[in-house]
Point group: C2
Amino acid sequence: MDIFLEEAIKEAKKGLSEGGIPIGSVLVIDGKIVGRGHNRRVQNSSAILHAEMDCLENAGRLKAIDYKRATIYSTLSPCDMCSGAILLYGIKRVIIGENKTFKGPEEYVKSRGIEVKVVDNKECCNLMESFIKASPELWNEDIGE
Amino acid sequence: MDIFLEEAIKEAKKGLSEGGIPIGSVLVIDGKIVGRGHNRRVQNSSAILHAEMDCLENAGRLKAIDYKRATIYSTLSPCDMCSGAILLYGIKRVIIGENKTFKGPEEYVKSRGIEVKVVDNKECCNLMESFIKASPELWNEDIGE
């Protein structure tokens, strides 16, 4: 498996071990992880710290030229907010662990010139399926439903 | 002027007084401000705390039914990220101070069923025009350019 997706899965599991929603993300530039994060709705009582947002925040203030050659990995298909952050910074490529348990606006993101690849990873899918079954209300809150 | 837009402008000015980018936002539900915030790129060295994101974060974890009758005010047209957050939560209405110095994906947001109103406020416009003139690099960083 892609070593960077593995790191995103580690983040998702870290979130789960903290009592949070198991979604993780890493930002990669020139073959190096420059930021990593996981969903912090529960841990920080946050309405905005989805995994990708936490990852981008932890990467710090980067230059436009850095984002534009970066790849963001997420264990789950990015929602409207996280897709919007990817569009704002013009991140070159998005690698998605799975989009079976939730699918964000992937077609729209592609139409705006971002590369989007879904790898259909079973571990990512299992993490979310178990979580949604155990905590449906928390999951609905996270996606505004 | 709309009292809530006035509050968003107060937030923008607070940000400016802190050495930050002068954009402010408030979230209103049933005629009451439930969250307020301003751009914190400089203050928190943040890549994600645009005014609307800071406002949504400060409002805390709300229920889906609350977002769906809320109005978010922003002194400036929301960017892709902030528009995405508005879409994620299905916020009912967006009131925009101005969209002359920057215009986010307003048409896309409307196409997704959100009410969008631009009030073309001079004070909002003046704040941004002065800021962009004084700090063009910082402004470009904030919009990923």
